[in-house]
């Protein structure tokens, strides 16, 4: 009974969160039409001339996430291949926890690392880069999610039975050919869930982008520009003193719902992808 309650409580909490998100968003959408919400290119809910175009926040979220993934997916995958197929036992036992430590650093530290170290460094190569920019925030976020990609992909690759590797080696394949041609296809479903988790993590990340990418909503796909993400907006507004029940207050929930829909969509896609390619060996 206690076990059931424990399991049930997590479902209840999730349902509660979704319920509040939907309820408050509904209030919001009574005032602002869904079409305006999705097509307006400005997000100025607290100005006299209020605009509610979520896309200028969503673009910030997507650009920073894509920059992060462009770094984290290849690097994380290469680390996973090294750890699973090349590293001697002892090396792996030392390296893996060290890499996982990257995920244990508080995100606020990553944020200031991006703002105060990576941005000046990038400005050295790109002199016109603004102090707040999505490139630096995205790259640091990428470093932050490398352990998610590498650790989960490595688990998936190590779970591939030895007889699959032997089949490849027996054909005269090198270690690299075996890793790419036999091990990775066999671990596809595990590796894809690692990628999807990394993506959800990047979309939902708040601190790094709030600190290093700026707080200005900006409808752009240029990573050199400053821009606010959905999460940065939520944290910015909820730290202020917006009265309960106002439209400004409800924007938080509408933005939250947007964020939730994005991660939900990707998780769903990942789920179907996994089912489609599930391998039994």
């Amino acid at each position: 009974m206690i076990l059931f309650l424990a399991a049930f409580s997590s479902i209840a909490i999730t349902a509660g969160i979704i319920g509040i998100l939907l309820y408050e968003s509904l209030q919001f959408f009574k005032v602002v039409s869904l079409v305006d919400f999705l097509t307006d290119r400005k997000w100025t809910p607290l100005f006299a001339d209020a605009h509610y175009g979520i896309m200028s926040l969503a673009s910030g979220t997507l650009v920073t996430s894509i920059v992060a993934l462009v770094l984290a997916l290849p690097v994380g995958t290469i680390i996973a291949i090294y750890l699973s197929e090349y590293a001697p036992y002892r090396m792996r036992e030392i390296l893996k926890p060290l890499i996982e430590l990257l995920g244990a650093i508080p995100t606020v530290i990553y944020g200031y690392f991006a703002l105060l170290f990576v941005t000046p460094l990038l400005q050295f190569f790109l002199p016109h880069l603004s102090t707040f920019n999505m490139l630096s925030a995205g790259l640091v976020m990428g470093v932050m999610i490398i352990p998610y990609v590498s650790s989960l992909s490595e688990d998936a690759m190590r779970g591939v039975p030895m007889h699959i590797r032997e089949a490849s080696y027996a054909m005269g394949a090198t270690r690299f050919q075996t890793a790419l041609g036999a091990v990775m296809p066999s671990a596809f479903s595990g590796i894809s869930s690692a990628y999807i988790l990394a993506f959800s993590r990047a979309i939902g990340e708040t601190m790094v982008v709030a600190i290093a990418a700026g707080m200005q909503p900006n409808f752009t796909i240029d990573p050199r520009e400053p821009a606010a993400t959905i999460t940065a907006y939520i944290v910015q507004v909820s730290l202020g003193d917006l009265p309960h029940g106002t439209i400004g207050y409800q924007t938080i929930f509408a933005a939250g719902l947007m964020l939730f829909s994005m991660t939900f969509l990707f998780n769903l896609m990942g789920h179907f992808l996994k089912k489609r390619f599930r391998k039994v060996y």
Binding site: P88, H163, I164, R165, E166, A167, S168, Y169, A170, M171, G172, A173, T174, Q177, G181, A182, P185, S186, F188, K279, V280, Y281
Partner: protein
């Protein structure tokens, strides 16, 4: 004509000696069977031929296996195992196709060798599947996943995969132990056809199988070669008492 000769071969898993001073010839375009009770070292011996033991740390070979005509020592320390595996194919106990299409499985070895010409690859794919008596069953679904095939078909696919690169010796490690009797019969038939083209060494725990399909048989016990001879002679008139006890089912 001998295709290979095992000469005073010993093998060690770390400090445990698994093969003791084994010498036997492998005749060209004949089937040589290796039999013996579980743990006698028959699979260990087979896996020396393509250096599968090199995949795991701490293993050591002693002695030699000469591959003719160039008399290269397969277990020589300075011989690259990848070069060896290019010349010697293997079919495993459990069918182990890759999670790819039937076509991709067959041409895997060709891709590994850097062959790019599509027409050549397609030709070899068809030829190997025909040689493995699988072409008629799969020709309309070459690009479907190999996992959709039955166990027996998967094993014949693995044989086609090994044949595609035209190995000089084909090693079979208990290839029918995971198959039903009908699939087993088909694989046995296939092995008898294949010996026209390639030298075969087969490890089996099934004595009837060895008697049915092999030309010569080696009987291993506790890592030692007890007896080697023509299959007919070994099964009807064994020289050694141990061989007789084993083939008459007194132990094993």
């Amino acid at each position: 004509m001998n295709k290979a000769e095992v000469k005073k071969l010993s093998f060690y898993y770390s400090s445990v000696q698994a093969l003791k001073d084994i010498s036997l010839p492998i005749e060209e375009k004949k089937v040589t069977a290796v039999i013996g009770p579980s743990g006698c070292g028959k699979s260990t011996l087979l896996r020396c031929f393509n250096r599968m033991h090199d995949l795991y740390p701490g293993n050591r070979y002693d002695g030699e296996i000469l591959l003719h005509p160039d008399s290269i020592n397969l277990v020589g320390a300075h011989i690259d195992p990848i070069e060896i595996r290019m010349r010697i194919g293997m079919v495993f106990q459990k069918p182990n196709p890759f999670p790819k299409s039937i076509y991709e499985n067959v041409v895997y070895g060709l891709k590994v060798r850097g062959i790019k010409k599509k027409r050549l690859i397609d030709e070899k794919c068809e030829k190997s599947l025909r040689d493995a008596a699988l072409w008629e069953e799969v020709k309309d679904r070459l690009h479907k996943p190999a996992f959709n095939l039955s166990g027996g078909q998967q094993q014949r696919l693995c044989i086609a995969r090994a044949l595609a690169t035209e190995p000089e010796i084909l090693l079979f490690d208990e290839p029918t132990s995971a198959l039903d009797p009908i699939a087993t019969a088909r694989v046995e038939e296939l092995i008898e056809e294949l010996k026209e083209k390639v030298t075969i060494v087969i490890v089996t725990h099934n004595m009837q199988q060895a008697a049915r399909i092999s030309d010569s048989t080696a009987f291993l016990y506790m890592g030692e070669l007890i007896e080697f001879g023509k299959t007919k002679q070994l099964f009807t008139n064994p020289r050694e008492k141990k061989t007789e006890d084993y083939i008459t089912g007194r132990f094993g």
